[in-house]
């Protein structure tokens, strides 16, 4: 059973590695007719994820990102320009261990792509409303999440005078937590987490429905109320210019933290030997 579980884990890792190479590097060298792939750029995303349990069913969810992107003259430096400050919050309703729904606002600060260019505003605000439907399942100690997220965005370009445009975004993410040092996900578990998230968008001004695809492989560790999580993400998606696609290599460093405010941690009830 243990060897089977390990076999499955290996297969999953190989599968995501295959996907990653197909999307990331395979397409970078194949230019289909009518499609232009821009040279890859690099970014560094730092995120803090919080999840506070307010009641048996309700959590407060919050994530704050500090994202940098590569310089215009050096696409490999990851941190040359300011990218975004990303603030997302929401209330979570936990129906059961396998299903939860989250609803809340998002406020993103989008920074200028060229700080020296006076035609650009240094930063613009991008408010959103979002809701998310999350399903989980466990297979042989591996936790698998199916995350459906819907975002309603009001977004504008950094060019001075640009107008806000409303778009809807549809995201589906498949993510697995594969424990490496424990039979299942628990405290002090080192795990690998491959995921893939595909983004679609609709809107009055949108000509291409496919927005982005993110292949992300991370290594994480759970420690009491913390989860440390980081890895490489390759994204491939459309740009505002039709037929032109951009791809990025993003380093992600995340810290997750949870607190239980119920102040009534359920004691373990087991039959204990008599003293």
């Amino acid at each position: 059973m243990k060897s089977l579980t390990l076999g499955r884990k290996v297969l999953l890792v190989l599968f995501f590695a295959f996907l990653s190479s197909f999307y990331g590097y395979g397409q970078a060298i194949i230019d289909e007719p009518g499609r232009t792939n821009l040279a890859p750029t690099t970014e560094l995303w730092n995120g803090l994820y919080l999840k506070f349990r307010l009641s048996d069913k309700i959590f407060w969810y919050q994530e704050n990102h500090y994202r940098r992107r590569s310089s215009t003259d050096n696409r490999s430096d990851f941190v040359g320009r300011m990218g975004q400050i990303y603030n997302r919050g929401g209330l979570v309703y936990l129906f059961n261990d396998q299903f939860e729904v989250t609803v809340g606002p998002t406020l993103v600060f989008n920074f200028t792509p060229d700080k020296e260019n006076p035609d650009y505003l240094n930063s613009t605000l991008e408010p959103r409303m979002w809701h998310q439907w999350l399903f989980t399942q466990s297979i042989a100690g591996i936790k698998i999440l199916h995350q459906f997220r819907f975002e309603h965005r009001f977004k504008r370009d950094n060019l001075i005078g640009a107008e806000y445009k409303y778009t809807d975004r549809y995201r589906y993410k498949f993510v697995a937590y594969i424990p490496l040092n424990k039979p299942k996900m628990e405290n002090k578990t080192l795990f690998i987490s491959p995921s893939n998230e595909i983004f679609f968008q609709t809107g009055k001004y949108q000509r291409e429905i496919f927005e982005d695809n993110r292949v992300y492989t991370a290594i994480g560790y759970t420690y009491n109320n913390f989860m440390f999580f980081g890895g490489h993400m390759w994204t491939y998606g459309s740009t505002n210019n039709p037929g032109i696609y951009a791809n990025k290599h993003v380093l992600r460093l995340n810290v997750m933290y949870t607190l239980d405010f119920r102040n009534k941690r359920r004691p373990v009830t087991r039959s204990l030997p008599a003293l």
């Binding site: 979570v92 405290n187 373990v268």
Partner: protein, 660 residues
């Protein structure tokens, strides 16, 4: 049937009643009792005068008459009668007394014309006595008649027996007629009560009518001759030359070391002769006849005790008294002490079961067993003489006579025969000291006993050491077998122990290696190097104790691990991770738990390297206390303790912080 006790009680009740009656009715100084009474152990009716003593007791004073007529309850043809009459003066016999005892057996033969035809067979003993102040005084007469076949015949008679103050004097004559023979004794007792002059005794002994003539001189027996009365042949003769010679020396005034004793002795004359000598043996049958006579005559007198034995003799013999030299005086005390010591040792070893059981293990042990049995007999032979020393009677013994024919218990050599492996063997023990050596008899006896004690001590020491060796070997063999058996059992117990946890398995393996191999081997070496039995036996028992302890503690040790696992679970709580959407147990009070777990491991490490098995219990107790404490702290507010545990500390500090 009335019991004697009831009879006696009844007698005394009536006497009390008589006393009461005297004071209330008449107020006389003398009273008369008439009622049941017991005389010389016989119940009957008595009438007598008495007065009350100062202490309220009855004092017989005046006439006394006792009658008893008794028909046997089983054989109604047997009738016994006993009549006593006399008088008391202040509770002692005084004046004339008459004792008449009759025995009748009536055989019913027929009844013809209402007339009973029967045959009577009777015996009648009549003693007429005189007393003064409770002692025989005056003439006594004894008549014993027999009635058979309608004919009365005299069976025994002693007509002229005169007493003065309890002592016979003058001519003594007693005749007894039996089965056609006439047995008699006739002799003279001088005024001081000593046998004197010629004495003639005719008595039946072993179907032979023996005539015995004795010659006394003022209590000293000078000679005895015995003849067969029928054939006239002389049977034996003893002339007491030694006595005659000493008497001559006294008469001549040449006696230096002896004189006539002032004590008086019974009719068994002895001048230091040993029992097996003719001088002693020749008197026995005649003295027995004398004894019968006296017991017949005095059977109702106080000189005969309840057992029918003479306790006061009516005539005496004399003996000499010998001076004991100053050198020998202390031996009178030393020899009995030495003898008793010797006898104790000999008896102990002769009765020693272990020696008896192990005597077949070696020739020497077989000899030793026989030696002590032989010594018992030898000491028995000595005992009479030692008792003479003990009582002081030896001063009346002429030791020249005593040792005249040699002394059998002081032989020149001792031969001890014994059986070993179906062969009868013997060992000659040459003696350095014997009767024939120089010195006084007592000195030789002391030296002989010293040598005897030396033999006994040496052989006893040998027996002790051999029996000890045998016991040691057998006990050690049994002990070692037990140790091996227990070791196999405990080894098996530990090797077959089914541990529920890896930590338990690992610990018990190391624990077993430490104690069942290391410490046990240490003990084995100490045991092997112990020389004397006691320490060896002690060490063997320590090894058994070690194994017992290991056997006893194993279940408790296993429980320690169960408790630790339970503690592990107790300090876990189920939690839900909202990022991975998984539920799992998460440690609570982690710092506290870790401190307990570290301390547990520290204690275990100390435990498994312990050298002293007697500390096992203490180690277990220490761990149990820790676990108890951890259970206790689980539901308590331990934030203060946890803060203090934050700083790294030594095990002792951890224990202190946890309140242990």
């Amino acid at each position: 049937m009335k019991t004697p006790l009831l009879e006696v009680m009844k007698t005394y009740l009536l006497l009390l009643f008589a006393l009461f009656f005297k004071f209330t009715a008449f107020g006389q100084s003398e009273s008369v009792y008439d009622g049941p009474y017991e005389f010389k152990g016989k119940s009957g009716q008595a009438i007598f005068e008495f007065k009350e003593g100062k202490d309220g007791g009855i004092i017989l004073n005046g006439f006394f008459r006792f009658d008893r007529t008794y028909i046997d309850s089983l054989d109604q043809t047997l009738l016994t009668k006993f009549q006593v009459s006399g008088s008391y003066l202040n509770n002692v016999k005084e004046g004339s007394w008459s004792f008449d005892r009759e025995w009748h057996k009536i055989a019913l033969e027929d009844v013809i014309d209402f007339k009973v035809i029967s045959e009577l067979e009777s015996e009648d003993l009549e003693i007429k006595a005189n007393y003064k102040a409770g002692l025989p005084h005056g003439r006594w007469q004894l008549y014993e008649h027999k009635f058979s076949n309608n004919e009365k015949s005299l069976r025994a008679t002693a007509e002229k027996i005169d007493f003065v103050g309890g002592v016979m004097i003058g001519e003594v004559s007693y005749r007894k007629f039996l089965s056609g023979y006439t047995q008699f004794l006739r002799g003279k007792i001088n005024d001081l009560g000593f046998m004197d002059g010629e004495w003639s005794l005719v008595y039946l002994k072993d179907s032979i009518l023996i005539s015995e003539a004795r010659k006394y001189e003022d209590g000293f027996l000078l000679g005895v001759v015995r003849r067969n009365m029928v054939s006239g042949h002389r049977i034996d003769e003893a002339i007491y030359y030694s006595t005659i010679e000493k008497l001559n020396q006294i008469n001549e005034g040449t006696n230096e070391y002896f004189n006539v004793s002032e004590k008086v002795f019974d009719y068994n004359y002895n001048d230091g002769y040993r029992m097996e000598t003719i001088e002693r043996q020749i008197q026995l049958a005649g003295n027995e006849f004398l004894s019968k006579f006296l017991k017949d005559l005095l059977q109702f007198d106080d000189s005969i005790n309840k057992d029918g034995e003479l306790q006061r003799y009516p005539f005496y013999t004399k003996r000499f008294e010998f001076d004991i030299s100053g050198d020998d005086l202390h031996l009178l005390a030393e020899i009995p002490v030495l003898f008793d010591h010797l006898q104790d040792s000999v008896n102990r070893y002769s009765e020693m079961n272990s020696l008896k059981l192990n005597r077949s293990k070696s020739d020497s042990l077989a000899f030793s067993h026989a030696f002590f049995s032989d010594r018992v007999e030898k000491l028995d032979k000595m005992e009479n003489f030692v008792n003479l020393l003990r009582t002081g009677e030896v001063i009346h013994y002429d030791l020249t006579n005593y040792t005249r024919d040699g002394v059998d218990f002081m032989s020149r050599e001792d031969e001890v025969s014994y059986v070993y492996q179906d062969d009868t063997l013997s060992v000659l023990l040459p003696r350095m000291v014997s009767f024939g050596d120089s010195g006084t008899f007592l000195q030789k006896l002391k030296a002989y006993l010293d040598e005897e004690l030396s033999f006994v001590t040496n052989i006893a020491n040998y027996v002790n050491s051999r029996l000890f060796e045998i016991e040691v070997n057998s006990r050690l063999v049994a002990l070692e077998a037990r140790i091996v058996e227990r070791k196999v059992e405990v080894d098996s117990l530990y090797s077959n122990h089914l541990a529920n946890y890896d930590a338990e398995k690992s610990f018990i393996e190391e624990f077993a290696i430490n104690f069942l191999v290391g410490r046990f081997d240490d003990r084995s070496e100490i045991y092997a190097s112990s020389v004397d039995f006691v320490s060896k036996f002690d060490q063997g028992n320590v090894m058994l104790d070690l194994l017992d302890e290991l056997e006893k503690r194993l279940p408790t040790i296993a429980i320690l691990f169960e408790r630790q696992v339970a503690l592990d679970e107790l300090y876990m709580e189920e939690t839900f991770n909202p990022f991975t959407y998984s539920r799992y147990d998460q440690r609570v009070k982690e710092r506290l738990y870790d401190a307990g777990a570290n301390l547990f491991q520290y204690y275990l490490d100390n435990f498994k390297t312990e050298d002293d098995y007697t500390q096992i219990r203490d180690h277990i107790s220490t761990i149990e206390k820790l676990q108890d404490k951890m259970y206790e702290l689980r539901d308590q507010d331990t934030r203060s303790i946890e803060r203090r545990l934050g700083r790294r500390g030594s095990p002792s500090k951890l224990a202190s912080t946890l309140g242990l």
